[in-house]
Amino acid sequence: MKPVIRRFGDTFLIASFALAALGPIQLRAQGPEAGRGPAAAAKAAAPFDMTGYWVSLVTEDWRYRMVTPAKNDLMGLPLNTEAAKIADAWDPGADEAAGNQCKSYGAAAIMKVPARLQITWQDDNTLRMDVDTGTQTRLFRFRTQSASPGPPSWQGDSVAQWQAAVTPGPTGVPAPPNTLKVVTRNLRPGYLRKNGVPYSDKAVVTEYFDLFRHSGDQWLVVTTIVEDPQYLTQPYVTNAQFRKQSDSSGWDPTPCSATW
């Protein structure tokens, strides 16, 4: 028996070193990120549950969000001169008349609009976000459509991905996803701020949705990065925060308005 044990021991030893040389093994379920084998349905792979009703808390940029700012109030916005000229020509009455009253409710600005959200799974790979203020709907698709995109829209086409905070090195352990990353393109030109500050159809919106728990409450924090080669001199970075509600209290769909 002794030689068998020794052979087992040697084999075991060799296997151990082989495993060590190959790098750590991750046996737990993986998210649908690229390069990790067959993708599970996004709903099943969700690292946290975003569904339900959420209410925004406006503690930042209050006077640009809770009331309609005056024309030319551009504080904080990394605009070029072309954008400033357009903002200077803002005419909310003309927007209303042209049916463009939703210009300040597009994907680049909607998370900053004081509102309640309802988040549901439309299907296993599409997260749906309804916003009561402006009655907007965003669709976060975890699997991109093979068909060509439709015409530009206020909410554009959003590609979603559960993502880890950091990427592993060449032999590193893939971390489990802990955030929702959403990239939105194909936008209809809109307003970054209610008072006519423009973003173009070239704008790309990258968002990170994080869930935090504190004292029995759940908080959804969105970090939004807007890049627009036409009107912005650098990326425009903002945050918005939402507290989860136990029910639909306060849910009040209201139409877009160019003036309020």
């Binding site: 030893l13 406006v58 930042e60 005056a70 024309k71 504080m75 990065i225």
Partner: protein, 314 residues
């Protein structure tokens, strides 16, 4: 050989069972993080209007305290070199320089440090499991902070601070204030959520979120040391404080932006979307911005943040 086998067995079990939770959870936050101050640009840049408590869940006592504050307070000798509380990381203009202090023997993380700013003390986030001091322990300007990892998010908790502010216009924070912070890294972007709870001056927790961007140019943690000197403060015999009903700036936001005084003075109600509906019937939008309007070429306040230093290879 037995030692080798035992080592290999341990190694195999670790590999098969998955990485150690501690090692798995820890994200490297070290580096210089430049503040992206586009949000709340005026508050985080030049400073807020003297009476602008919009979006702050102040209770009556907090509001009264805030209205008594005079900016001249900061020029009095005894206040000139007084640091802000750790809550200042949420509303001050500076970026963060973060590094880890490790145990010299076993290499585990003892603390994560956020370097000082020129008007904020350094924050030491103790990661070694030590408890917070007794509630009767002295309060320090830097407070006492512990932290832990929740997945890839660093959660820190600060107590034992001295009284201070939650906005740079004197909106107060008592020495009972507690700060819970969450640091979530997305590549080169760092999102910080701070939840400020104060049983003395706030009726609800105050949430502030801000974003930092990793840069390769080191953020200098400290400027020149603060040296006290005469700054032309209050005249002799006067006190840098406003008596009730005598704050001269109370109507400034109403004049400039037509924001009702009730909203200017804050309160939890002003944080919620429903309050916007309440404002709708009486609000008349000013025609054109006349002061602190930002925009291209206007003193840099169009962006209120310098573009991050070019990072080679990024």
């Amino acid at each position: 050989m037995d030692i080798l086998k035992r080592t290999s067995l341990t190694l195999t079990l670790i590999l098969v069972a998955g990485p150690l939770p501690h090692a798995f959870a820890e994200v490297d936050l070290s580096g210089s993080w430049q503040a992206r101050n586009q949000q709340d640009a005026m508050q985080r840049g030049p400073g807020p209007y003297p009476v602008d408590y919009t979006g702050l869940p102040l209770n009556q006592e907090g509001r009264a305290n805030a209205l008594s504050f005079s900016q001249s307070t900061l020029s009095t000798i005894e206040h000139q070199c007084a640091y802000y509380q750790p809550t200042y990381v949420l509303f001050g203009p500076q970026g963060l320089r973060i590094w880890t202090e490790t145990d010299a023997v076993n290499g585990t993380t003892v603390a994560i440090k956020i370097g000082a700013a020129n008007d904020r003390a350094p924050i030491t986030i103790w990661m070694d499991g030590r408890p917070h001091p007794s509630k009767n322990a002295p309060h320090l300007i830097g407070g006492f902070t512990t932290g832990s990892w929740e997945g890839d998010v660093l959660v820190f908790y600060t107590t034992h601070m001295k009284s201070g502010y939650i906005r740079r216009n004197g909106a107060p924070a008592s020495d009972e204030t507690a700060l819970t912070g969450y640091l979530s890294r997305h590549g080169d972007i760092l999102t910080m959520l701070g939840i400020i709870e104060d049983p003395i001056y706030l009726s609800e927790p105050l949430l502030i979120t801000r974003t930092f961007q990793l840069v390769t140019r080191a953020i200098r943690p400290l400027d020149t040391p603060c040296i006290r000197g005469y700054e032309g403060g209050p005249s002799e015999g006067s006190v840098a404080q406003y008596l009730p009903g005598q704050n001269p700036f109370i109507g400034e936001l109403t004049n400039l932006y037509h924001i009702p005084r009730e909203a200017v003075l804050g309160g939890a109600e002003t944080m919620y979307p429903d309050y916007r509906k309440k404002l709708k019937s009486d609000f008349v939008r000013p025609d054109k911005c006349t002061l602190n309007c930002g925009g291209p070429g206007r003193g840099g306040l169009g962006a209120a943040v310098a573009a991050p230093a070019a990072a080679p290879g990024r």
